[in-house]
């Protein structure tokens, strides 16, 4: 069986599945249950400064969107950092670390952007025996209005500064958690790297309003008739997170900077994808808030079985393996030509491929043949866009098939070239390098 043990910036855990800093990791009670269920580590819910703790709203804290059968696809929250006394949290962290020495316990922190505030909290956290700290520069609601969370994460200079303070004042590994509420994720990551961060973790939640109540006209979750934007998470954010992880992983300036992947991870497969794009481990939150801690069993067995099938004996053998496959658009091979093909044995004749193509794309799928309901791709119109594959309700009924070099593309009438050629050299590109004049 594959070895799932994880070594992330020197923090060891029996598997790469950690719980993200969030309600599931707010108390010893929950964390104990999580460890019993098999989770490899936790990011303890964000601690703030010593003193009176923050208060939360007492109305609904979460909102959601659903797919069919009310399957939760995306959730947002307006909860703040821990609202429990600092000392209580520290005591519990210390006990948990003592009870579960083989699990990772990293403490998420958020204090004002002043060096003294960080100097004050770092030693008391270190004293618990925690394995590391995660700087919460991500929460987009509430705390950001007080100059913390994403308010820091949106200013690379602040990220670098605070990271440097932390590195100077603790020997614990420092993981910087990034907000996705920026235009280019590489800048905050570079700042963290410059400040000396041991790793970055991402993404934190996304600014969002999940829905509007059309009777009260209040956004949800609604607190006495009003709502504020909250942090969006869950399966719906995974594509955004994957891209941001990949952007950092392939940025030469942050090459080699460890990444802890977060964002809608629900199954072993999601986790493997994040890891393939360069995440050394992953953090999960919404999935356990939806289904409970037990899902880690599926994640462990799924990842392990996949690794066995693929011949990987340890996770570092596939971490980052997809990174070289991520490219800029301009380097994609324009000579790679595909056509959709409908498997008539699998086709149930719903016609969705036809109407999608007919109404919104390239009029490349017929709806009738010999007077009968029949759906077939017309290669002379098909641009290979893949829309039909996506809207088809039957898996593998429509597949994209690449044309072999040498055959004629019926749409363009041109022979398919076997050589790679991209936009940078394309004759239609005004900026393309021209052949030198004779």
């Amino acid at each position: 069986m594959a070895d799932l043990t994880n070594n992330f910036v020197g923090i060891k855990s029996p598997n790469p599945f950690w719980l993200a800093s969030a309600p599931p990791t707010d108390k010893a009670y929950n964390v104990t249950r999580a460890f019993k269920a098999g989770w490899g580590g936790v990011m303890w819910k964000t601690l703030g400064e010593d003193g009176p703790p923050v208060v939360n709203v007492n109305g609904p804290r979460y909102g959601a969107i659903w797919g069919g059968d009310r399957r939760l696809l995306g959730m947002n929250n307006i909860e703040l950092i821990t609202d429990r006394e600092l000392q209580v949290n520290l005591r519990e962290i210390k006990q948990i670390k003592k009870d579960w020495p083989d699990r990772a316990v990293v403490v998420s922190l958020m204090v004002p952007c002043e060096e003294d505030a960080w100097k004050a909290i770092l030693p008391v956290v270190e004293e618990t025996g925690a394995d590391g700290i995660e700087l919460n520069f991500g929460c987009p609601h509430g705390m950001s209005e007080r100059g913390m969370g994403s308010a820091v994460g949106q200013v690379p200079e602040y990220i670098e500064m605070v990271t440097r303070w932390c590195k100077a004042n603790t020997s614990m590994p420092v993981i910087v958690k990034l907000t996705p509420n920026i235009t280019d994720i590489r800048y905050p990551a570079r700042a963290a790297h410059k400040g000396g961060a041991d790793a970055v973790s991402l993404i934190n939640t996304i600014n969002s309003i999940v829905s509007v109540d059309l009777e009260s006209f209040s956004p949800n979750p609604s607190i006495d008739g009003k709502g504020s934007h909250g942090g969006y998470c869950g399966p719906a954010v995974k594509p955004i997170a994957l891209n941001m992880v990949a952007e950092i992983a392939r940025d030469p300036e942050t090459a080699g900077l460890p990444i802890s992947g977060i964002g809608g991870i629900t199954t072993w497969r999601d986790a493997a994808e994040f890891m393939a794009l360069g995440s050394g481990n992953v953090q999960v939150c919404t999935a356990v808030m939806t289904y409970g801690f037990k899902i880690v069993e599926e994640m462990i067995s799924g990842l392990s079985n996949w690794m066995d099938e693929e011949g990987y004996t340890s996770i570092d053998q596939f971490v980052g393996k997809a990174v070289p496959k991520v490219s800029d658009w301009q380097y994609l091979n324009l000579n790679h030509i595909t056509k959709a093909k409908i498997n008539q044995d699998l086709c149930i004749k719903c016609g969705r491929c036809h109407i999608a193509c007919e109404d919104t794309s390239h009029q490349a799928i017929m709806a009738q043949k010999d007077g009968k309901r029949h759906f077939e791709v017309m290669n002379d119109e098909c641009v290979g866009c893949n829309l039909c594959v996506l809207v088809c309700p039957i898996e593998d009924c429509i597949v994209m098939e690449a044309l072999e070099p040498g055959v004629i593309d019926e749409r363009t009438g041109k022979v398919v070239e076997k050589d790679y050629a991209n936009w940078t050299t394309h004759p239609n590109n005004p900026a393309a390098a021209k052949e030198p004049a004779e």
């Binding site: 069919g68 059968d69 009310r70 149930i348 004749k349 719903c350 016609g351 969705r352 036809h354 109407i355 709806a367 309901r373 309700p393 039957i394």
Partner: protein, 449 residues
């Protein structure tokens, strides 16, 4: 099991009232909101959907299901009623497994079609509960149309005519309007007086007068109507019952299944309906199934359907046949009635002859079987009442019509079971009534149709 169930002969009260109430409850309890949403999500919103094509009234099924899925249930109801004003009844009685649901792509994909009938009921029930009315009458045209028969065809025709601003008078021979919706469908398919509630809901549009106890051929003729009205629509159904052509069929205990079904629908106390201990139902259609299943539900110990042809040829749908067998009815094929056995004028059994197909023709084999019975229901088909022909051309014993429902006589249209070429379904009757109304409207308003 109570003792009454063992009573010989024909008797009422075989089962306690509480059991009867349970037995005759709604066959398909309505979907609740969540069930409806989950089911609606299953619809693929097909292009040029096969289900819509399979529906005789061509309801835009993908659209109404999508409307349900977005919480726009009244929009869904309107989509249904636009095509089929009796969408509520059709949701209950349509053999969806041989219509829309048979061709649902989910049936092809996984053998589990979207429950279109249940969803249609969900939407139409809600509209009726709220009395949401979607149609108004156009400006009064001053035209008056007579509709004969207040069944599905007549009601659908009258409603559509009313929307166009015409005044309609419906004549019906019975004490209650509704036709087979009121008298001819198993009780468990349409509970709680649904047929009358639907009638009220539909006629609420106004401009529709219903004259009950008025029989064509007895109280008036088509010539009378032609004189008084601008157009006539005939939707009289099939008033006659085919004879068994078996010796002794006049014996006490031999009855028409349609009468039995009507009695069940009209009673307010099921424990007063008499039923035998051993029942034979002759026939292979929906009427046979409805009678047999309800005989069983009333407490008959043995119920056997005897059909002279094979399983494949039965008119009753697969679903109906399965329903019968799960309720404990025995279905026997290739048996035709030969002689009703009696003692003191009462039925004691039935002698049947085995049959086979020889060169495409059904033939008796000479071998016989005898089944004990104290009650025999005939369900071997209905025919047009001879008083109803009224000089109209017939084909195959039914009224001949063109694709617009026009009969051989100028100014007279017809639709529903009484016309040739149909399939004896409520939904087809609705489609024919509706389309005839459009044709009448066109003719009266000077359009060429």
């Amino acid at each position: 099991m109570g003792e009454n169930i063992l009573k010989e002969g024909i008797s009422s009260g075989r089962l306690p009232p509480s059991q009867l109430e349970k037995n005759f409850a709604d066959l398909h309890p309505p979907l609740d909101r969540h069930e409806a949403l989950v089911e609606a999500e299953r619809c693929y919103f097909c292009h040029d959907a096969p289900c819509q094509e399979a529906c005789p009234t061509e309801i835009d099924i993908p659209l109404f299901i999508r409307e349900i899925s977005t919480g726009n249930v009244l929009g869904a109801a309107k989509t249904i009623f636009n095509q089929n004003i009796l969408g509520g009844m059709c949701a209950r009685v349509c053999p969806t497994e041989t219509l829309c649901e048979e061709v649902c792509v989910r049936e092809e994909a996984e053998g589990k079609p979207v429950k279109i009938g249940h969803l249609q009921r969900y939407a139409t029930d809600m509209a009726m509960e709220r009395n949401a009315q979607f149609f108004t009458r156009a400006t009064d045209t001053g035209k008056r149309i007579a509709v004969v028969g207040a069944g599905p065809a007549g009601i659908a025709c009258a409603h559509r005519l009313s929307t166009h601003g015409h005044d309609v008078t419906i004549f019906d021979a019975r004490d209650k309007a509704g036709g087979l919706n009121e008298y001819g469908i198993a009780s468990y398919k349409t509970v709680d007086g649904f047929a009358q509630a639907e009638l009220e809901y539909v006629t609420a549009i106004g401009g529709i007068k219903i004259e009950l106890g008025q029989a064509l051929g007895r109280d008036f003729s088509l010539d009378d109507l032609k004189k008084k009205y601008d157009a006539v629509f005939v939707g009289v159904g099939m008033g006659g019952v085919n004879a068994l052509r078996a010796e002794g069929e006049d014996a006490q205990g031999v009855a028409d299944a349609v009468d039995f079904i009507a009695d069940l629908r009209q009673t307010d106390d099921l424990s007063k309906i008499e039923i035998g201990r051993r029942i034979i139902v002759i026939g292979g259609g929906m009427t046979a199934i409805d009678a047999a299943v309800q005989a069983k539900l009333l407490g008959a110990e043995e119920v056997t359907i005897c059909y002279r042809r094979g399983h494949e040829e039965m008119n009753a749908s697969e679903f109906e046949q399965n329903l019968a067998t799960t309720k404990g009815v025995v279905v026997r094929h290739w048996l035709q009635p030969k002689k009703v056995l009696t003692a003191e004028g009462k039925v004691t059994g039935l002698e049947l002859e085995y049959t086979e197909m020889v060169d495409g023709r059904l033939k008796g084999m000479g071998h016989t079987a005898t089944l004990p019975a104290d009650q025999i229901f005939k369900a071997i088909g209905q025919k047009l009442d001879t008083h109803h022909a009224q000089g109209l051309e017939l084909v195959g014993g039914r009224i001949e019509v063109d694709e617009n429902g026009k009969t051989s006589r100028q100014g007279i249209w017809a639709g529903g079971d009484c016309v040739a070429g149909g399939d004896d379904l409520t939904v087809t009757a609705v489609a024919q009534g509706r389309d005839a109304a459009e044709s009448i409207h066109g003719a009266l308003m000077g359009e060429t149709r």
